[in-house]
Structure formats: structure tokens, C-alpha cells
């Protein structure tokens, strides 16, 4: 076999050199990281008293003074991390004092310079720290950086920094518009970032759901999902008829969470919705709000084609007092022998069993008596399965 052994030997030498270089690099990184850890530990001891002073004076009218000694690069980075943590964890005056301390230490100017002049990785590092320090002057440069950035994790680092530093709603809107150019459905992440901005989030989300763009509506709905004021219900109501299924579902979810009463026409509309998730939410809301007036609607939902709706309706009727229980047992008797009837009967029996173990509670005892009575009456058992205590 023809083999050019000389070429193979030369290739081997190259490989050996590359291996050696790589091994040296790995060890060099290890030594550097160990040295840094040692320096950090030493500095933690050195700075302990100073941080005690900072914490004692953090709520004062005057921000704390800078430490009375100069800091090398590693020490400055450790200091920066500690201050970042404090800014993240504090609010109000303590946070503002920490931000002012960063200014006095020259950290703000240092990172602003890095943001404008540094390499790509330096810019991302600066963007992160400026965000932590809530440096409002950095917003134009951060927006510029965000404009041209491709979609990867660093894009969201810059966007979050803009939200933290935002001077007003407009900065946040600009950030959102740039991010939506890469739209990949990251609405929850966007909302999480927007909530870091020092603005009226509710007003911004309410404005977003008024827009025509589905992306903005989605962000608005994600943001409003934990709001329970009745005003939110009226704001999202029109979106229940949106052609987009996801928007419909989210709108129904928020609507049902924030109302105290659901009009009959809305109940009927929602219970005819093609998505069974929407029907489940509706019967759950009726039960949670104890809307006894809709027992007839719940009764119909018991026979829904979706098992999930039927199950939710049965569990809901159990919570709607004597009348609800009577309806549930009545329907179960009507459909006895079918798969659905069997399931409903099993559900009632499980509930009787569960209630029979909680008879020390007067409410549960009342429910138990009522359920056992209607169960025997409608489902025709000869003897009680559990005696009333």
C-alpha cells in the first residue's frame, strides 16, 4: 500500500503541537480562574466593613461614600456584582442610593465608554451592567445596539437592559417593536422584561391590546393575565371574538378571572365555543363565582361532548349547593348505563367517600347529607354506602 509516511509524520507533529497548545490553554484558564477566586475571597474580607457601612447608610438622605481605597480590576468587578445584586433586591431610596454610589465609583461612566467603544463581547457586558445600574443615558446606545443584533440570548440581555433603564413608555415601546421583528412568540419573556421597567405596566398592556397587531395584543394579554380589576374585563371583552384562537382563549381566561358576574348571553356564547378549554374555563368560573342562577346551563354542560367539560361541570355542580347536587344526581340517573353516566356516578361516589371523612366540618357534613340523600333518591340504591354521623 502506498502511504506517504513523511506526510503522516508531519501531520502527527502538527497534531502534537495543537494538543500541547490546547492543554496549556486549559491549564492557563484553570490557574487564572483559581487566582481570581483567591483575589475575590481576599477582597470579600477586605470590603466587609465597607459593605456594613453601606448597608447601615443605604436608607439615608445622602448616598454612601465610595470606599477610601482604590480598586483593581477584579475588585471593581466584585464590587460591581455586589452593587448589582443590591440594586436588584432593593426598591425606592436604597436602590437610588446604590445607583448613585455606582456613579460615584465611576462604574457608570466606565460602562458607558465600553458600550460605545468596546468589542462585541465588551458591549454586551457593558449593556448588562448598565441595565443593572438603571443608567437612563444608556438607552439610545442600547437601542442602537439592539437594532442590528441577531436573535440569540444576548439580544434579550440588551432588551432587558433597555427595559430596566427606560426613561418612559416610549423607550419600552421602541424596544418591543425592535424585538417583534424577530418574532418567535416570545411574548412571556417580553412581558417579564417589560415588568422590569419603571412605568405603569397595566396602562401599557391595556394600550397594547387596543392595537390591531396580533403580536401586540398577545403581549398585552400576557401582561394582563394576573390583573383582576373589572376594568380589565371590559378591555379584553372584545377579544373574545378575535379570529385568532390563542387570543380568544387568553382573553376568555382574563375576562373570567376579572369579572364578579357573567351575563347570561356571555355564558351561552362561551359554552358554545368550539374550544373545549374555553368551555371548561366557563363552567369553572360559574362554580367559583357561585352563580346558582346558571345551574341549568351547568346541567347542559354535563352532557357536553368533551369529557373535560362534563367533568368540570360535575365538579362545579357539587359546589353549587343543594340545587346543584340535585341536578347532578338527576342527570346521572337519566344517563345511567352509558359511559358518561358511569363516570358521573363514580365521581359522585368518590365525593361521598371524600366528604364522609371530613364530617367534623359543618359545611362538609351538610354537603355530605345533601349528596347522600340525592344519590340514594335518584340513583336508587337500597342502602346508604356511608352512614351520616
Amino acid at each position: 500500500m502506498y502511504i506517504n509516511i513523511e506526510v503522516a509524520i508531519k501531520f502527527l507533529y502538527v497534531l502534537i503541537i495543537l494538543n500541547l497548545v490546547f492543554a496549556v490553554v486549559v491549564y492557563a484558564m484553570k490557574f487564572k480562574s483559581m487566582k481570581r477566586t483567591r483575589m475575590e475571597r481576599r477582597f470579600e474580607v477586605k470590603i466587609k466593613d465597607y459593605f456594613t457601612y453601606v448597608l447601615v447608610n443605604i436608607e439615608g438622605k445622602e448616598p454612601p461614600h465610595a470606599p477610601p481605597f482604590s480598586l483593581n480590576r477584579v475588585e471593581q468587578e466584585v464590587m460591581q456584582e455586589r452593587l448589582n445584586d443590591m440594586i436588584e433586591n432593593f426598591t425606592g431610596t436604597p436602590r437610588e442610593n446604590c445607583m448613585e454610589l455606582c456613579q460615584r465609583l465611576g462604574l457608570v461612566q466606565y460602562h458607558l465608554d465600553r458600550l460605545n467603544k468596546g468589542s462585541y463581547s465588551v458591549k454586551i457586558d457593558a449593556a448588562y451592567h448598565l441595565g443593572c445600574m438603571r443608567v437612563q443615558e444608556a438607552v439610545p446606545a442600547l437601542l442602537k445596539l439592539l437594532q442590528t443584533h441577531k436573535r440569540n440570548s444576548s439580544l434579550f440581555v440588551i432588551a432587558r437592559s433597555i427595559a430596566k433603564c427606560a426613561r418612559d413608555e416610549q423607550d419600552v415601546k421602541d424596544m418591543v417593536e425592535i424585538l417583534l421583528r424577530h418574532n418567535k412568540g416570545f411574548y412571556d419573556l417580553l412581558v417579564d422584561m417589560i415588568k422590569e421597567a419603571d412605568i405603569d405596566h397595566g396602562a401599557l398592556f391595556a394600550e397594547f391590546i387596543q392595537r390591531k397587531s396580533n403580536e401586540f395584543i398577545q403581549i398585552g394579554l400576557c401582561g394582563l393575565k394576573d390583573y383582576t380589576q373589572p376594568t380589565v374585563a371590559s378591555a379584553v371583552y372584545r377579544l373574545i371574538d378575535s379570529p385568532d384562537r390563542t387570543i380568544q382563549y387568553k382573553a376568555v381566561e382574563i375576562y373570567l378571572k376579572s369579572v364578579h358576574f357573567i351575563p347570561r348571553n356571555v355564558v351561552q356564547k362561551l359554552l358554545q365555543h368550539p374550544m373545549d378549554e374555553v368551555r371548561v374555563l366557563t363552567v369553572q368560573a360559574i362554580a367559583d363565582l357561585k352563580l346558582v342562577a346558571y345551574i341549568d346551563v351547568m346541567r347542559d354542560a354535563l352532557l357536553d361532548e368533551s369529557k373535560r367539560v362534563s367533568d368540570a361541570s360535575a365538579r362545579g355542580l357539587l359546589l353549587l349547593g343543594e340545587e346543584g347536587i340535585a341536578k347532578l344526581c338527576g342527570v346521572t340517573a337519566e344517563v345511567r348505563g352509558s359511559e358518561q353516566g358511569g363516570y358521573l356516578q363514580m365521581l359522585i361516589e368518590e365525593e361521598i367517600k371524600s366528604l364522609s371523612m371530613q364530617l367534623h366540618d359543618l359545611d362538609q357534613l351538610t354537603r355530605y347529607n345533601s349528596l347522600a340523600y340525592h344519590y340514594e333518591k335518584t340513583l336508587g340504591k337500597n342502602k346508604r354506602i356511608y352512614r351520616v354521623v
Partner: protein, 480 residues
């Protein structure tokens, strides 16, 4: 006599030609495999930098308290896990994650797994609403205790790991499912880290794999890994460097080109509706973790659904590595069997077909040629070497040079994995641990890799003999 000599000479000439041809084939095979290895490693190293930035500049503590991270159902299949199930479930219940449920599925264990779960967590039988998306073995009962509102326990007939996962999917409430082995420990913020990757692209991310690290010799307290140490015993130490090379050196690179073929069964997160769309986990054979990912690739590519199978190296799951030859060989034979089954069942139908893109043109050829068929090339190579020696076709110098080229071209990949480890994670703080990692990266080439080839070959024999037993598996407590 002359005729006999003539025929003998003819046969020798033919053998020489054949060996020569094989030699060229083997050389090109080695060149291509090395090229692909280097390509994937280069991609892994390139993607380490953005990964590192993602890890460094995201405040996990804050994100883990956010109401905007997606809710997740954790599925924990358990078979004869009485020794570790309590500790594992307690650690899962204490994760830093806002909304999740833990569904432990007892797969008809012969030991006291079910009894321990029911007694330890005071579980009572319930009749929840369960969907029937995927058919499973008969479920004996569903259990719950309102005092542990996010813990559910399913007791079912034995049907294998895949069947248990399917039963868990049927009960799960959330749109994301996460599979976790009962002998593994999740780091407190592992789910948040995976959620961050998912949240950055929730439409396309169909699966995210976590990083599996070896817990042997580490100190575990209250279900948390406290003191990280390099394994003291030989087998776990060898597996440690092997895992590091595969996860850091391989999966980061494969994920960057959307060619990841496996999300480790020990810890991964999936979009539930996609898993249901592909029919859930395939039972009856090991390798269900690779099978589900192949099916997801296939489903998305055939239906033109934009998708990504991501890898999140900072989301760490600690697992117990086999520490004896018997258990390790059994595990590797199982893996070999699973790999072969997946390639026969799925791989060969997708390879070199343009509709399967990178997966069909790079991942599968790599996997079939260099993973599945690897034992056959290695064994034939050994026989050819003997042939070269007997027929005086190669001198010792050539053999040594080629062996050294092979060694150093593979060792540099181990160094690459160590580089990524030090650059982005630096989980082992001691210098002595780095020395050990270097040492075991060298030792891997002297026996471990060769025996690995043998185990895979034996796994294939098991496959063809229809031997589908699980093999040896012994559980021990953590901290051993």
C-alpha cells in the same frame, strides 16, 4: 505442485489487493469521521461564547420567581427505586420554579417503591380526569395528597419506561413535560435554565435537553449536590470524561445546526402536544429517548413545521454512573441495542433524503456509519491489521505513526471538552480534578474505548437474538 503454488500466489495477490482496498477505505472512513468530529467540536466551541453570555447575564433567581415562566409537568418513571425515590421526590418538590407538578409513575415495581411513596407522602387514591391520548398498560390507581398539591403518583402494571412516561403524559396538566430519571437529582435552578432557553423561542423549540453530570463521589445533602468532586472509582471517572466529551463537545455543536439526535432520558423538556402528535414514547425497547427525538425531527420536517431541538448545558441533572464492569457493560449493551433498533426502525428511512435536511444528510449518516456500524469497522480493522502484519504490507513505524495520529486527533477533542468546561462552567474547582480529567482522558484510549466497541457489538447480538431484557441494574444510595 506448480499449479498449487500458482493458485496460492493468485489467492495471496487477491488478498493483498483486497487488504489494500480495505486500507484505502478505512483511511477515508477515518478521515471523514475525524472531519465530522472536528466540525462538531468547532461548532461547540464557537457556540460556547454566546452560551456563556446567556448563562452569565441572565439572573436565574429573578426568573425563577417570575409568573411568566411556562408551567411544566415533571414525569418520573420509577422501577424498583425504593432506595432513592424518597430523596429524589423531595428534591423535585423543592425546585426553584413557580408552577410545576411532579408525576411519579411506579412501573409495577417488584420492591416497595409504591408503598414507600404512599406512606412517605400520605397519599390517598383519587379519581382525576385523565386523557387517553396514548394507550398504556393498566393503571392500578392515581394518588394525591392535598398537602403536597403538586405531587401525583401513578401506580400501574409493568410496561417499561416508555409506557410509564406515556401514562404520565395522560395525567399531566401542563403544555410542557419534562422527563427525569428516578436515580437522578436536578439542580434547583435547572428547570428555570431550560425554561429560559424555551422562552426565547417558544414556537420552534420542541425539545430542550439538559446536561447530565456524574454524581459519584460528590456529597449529596437534602437532595442537593453540595460538594462537587471528580469520581474516585475508575469506571465512573472514565464515564465522567466520556460524558463531558459527548455533552459539551458534541451536543452543543449538534444543537447549533439543529441536528441533535438525542435528548437524554435523564433530563429533558418537551412540548407535550408534539410528543402526543408523534404517538408518545415507543415502548418495548431501550433507546426511547433517542427514538422520541428522531420522531420529532421526522414529524416536523414532514409537516414543514419550523422547529428546534435545543441543548442547555447549564441545566444540570446529576446521575449515578454504574461503578462496576457488570452494570456498565449491561447499560452499554442496552444502549447499543436501542441505537440499532432506532436506526433500523427510523434512521434508514430518513437517511440521505433531502426533505430531512441536516438531520438526513449529516446526523443520521454520522450516527449509522460512525456509531451503529462502528463495531464492525473496528473489528474488521483489527483483522486487517493482522493481515498487513502477516503479509508484510506495513512496517511497525507506519502502524505506530497512524496509531499516534489517531490518538492525538481524538485526544484534542477531549481537550476541547475540557476547554468548554473551564471556559463556561468550571464545575470542578480543584486543580487536582483537572489533572484527573486529563489523566482519564488519556486512559480512555487504552482499553475503555475498545471494550465499549465490544459492548456495543454484544448489544447488537442481543438485538438479533431478540434478547430484550433490561440486564443488570443495581441501585445504591447517593453519597456512595
Amino acid at each position: 505442485m506448480r499449479m498449487l503454488d500458482y493458485y496460492f500466489e493468485q489467492a495471496m495477490d487477491f488478498l493483498r489487493d483486497f487488504l489494500l482496498g480495505y486500507g484505502y477505505f478505512a483511511m477515508y472512513y477515518a478521515l471523514i469521521i475525524t472531519f465530522i468530529y472536528f466540525l462538531i467540536f468547532a461548532l461547540s466551541i464557537r457556540h460556547t461564547y454566546p452560551l456563556q453570555r446567556g448563562i452569565q447575564y441572565n439572573r436565574m433567581q429573578k426568573l425563577s420567581g417570575s409568573e411568566h415562566v411556562p408551567p411544566v409537568s415533571l414525569l418520573v418513571p420509577a422501577y424498583n427505586e425504593e432506595l432513592m425515590i424518597k430523596e429524589n421526590v423531595r428534591s423535585l418538590l423543592a425546585l426553584n420554579y413557580p408552577e410545576y407538578e411532579v408525576i411519579v409513575v411506579n412501573d409495577g415495581s417488584k420492591d416497595d417503591t409504591a408503598k414507600i411513596m404512599i406512606e412517605e407522602f400520605q397519599l390517598k387514591e383519587i379519581k382525576p380526569f385523565v386523557t387517553n391520548h396514548i394507550k398504556t398498560e393498566k393503571v392500578r390507581g392515581y394518588y394525591h395528597n392535598p398537602e403536597y398539591p403538586n405531587l401525583y403518583f401513578i401506580d400501574k402494571e409493568n410496561g417499561g419506561k416508555a409506557d410509564s412516561l406515556n401514562a404520565g403524559i395522560n395525567l399531566s396538566r401542563y403544555p410542557l413535560i419534562s422527563t427525569i430519571d428516578a436515580d437522578s437529582l436536578l439542580e434547583k435552578d435547572a428547570l428555570t435554565r431550560i425554561a429560559r432557553v424555551y422562552m426565547e423561542n417558544p414556537e420552534d423549540t420542541v425539545a430542550v435537553g439538559g446536561n447530565v453530570r456524574i454524581v459519584n463521589s460528590c456529597t449529596v445533602e437534602d437532595g442537593m449536590v453540595k460538594n462537587i468532586r471528580f469520581p474516585k472509582k475508575m469506571w465512573p471517572a472514565l464515564q465522567n470524561v466520556e460524558y463531558s466529551k459527548a455533552f459539551l463537545g458534541g451536543r452543543i455543536g449538534w444543537s447549533s445546526i439543529n441536528g441533535l439526535i438525542i435528548v437524554s432520558g435523564a433530563f429533558g423538556v418537551f412540548q407535550k402536544d408534539k410528543v402526543i402528535a408523534v404517538g408518545g414514547y415507543r415502548g418495548g425497547y431501550p433507546g426511547e429517548d433517542m427514538n422520541i427525538v428522531i420522531k420529532l425531527h421526522r414529524y416536523c420536517l414532514e409537516n414543514n413545521i419550523p422547529y428546534h431541538v435545543a441543548f442547555c448545558p447549564d441545566a444540570v441533572c446529576w446521575t449515578q454512573a454504574p461503578d462496576t464492569y457488570r452494570i456498565l457493560s449491561s447499560q452499554r449493551m442496552r444502549w447499543g441495542r436501542g441505537n440499532l433498533k432506532n436506526m433500523i426502525e427510523e434512521g434508514i428511512h430518513m437517511i440521505f433524503r433531502p426533505r430531512y435536511k441536516v438531520f438526513g444528510f449529516l446526523t443520521l449518516p454520522y450516527n449509522i456509519l460512525f456509531e451503529t456500524l462502528n463495531p464492525y469497522f473496528r473489528l474488521s480493522g483489527l483483522i486487517a491489521m493482522i493481515g498487513y502484519w502477516l503479509l508484510n504490507m506495513a512496517d511497525w513505524k507506519t502502524v505506530v505513526v497512524f496509531m499516534l495520529v489517531n490518538f492525538f486527533s481524538c485526544f484534542i477533542l477531549s481537550l476541547g471538552a475540557l476547554f468548554i468546561e473551564e471556559k463556561a462552567f468550571s464545575r470542578y474547582p480543584k486543580l487536582s480534578d483537572l489533572h484527573k480529567m486529563m489523566l482519564y482522558s488519556v486512559l480512555m484510549f487504552f482499553g475503555y474505548r475498545q471494550v465499549g466497541v465490544l459492548w456495543r457489538f454484544l448489544g447488537h447480538i442481543d438485538y438479533f437474538r431478540n434478547n430484550n431484557s433490561w440486564g443488570t441494574m443495581v441501585r445504591t444510595n447517593f453519597n456512595k
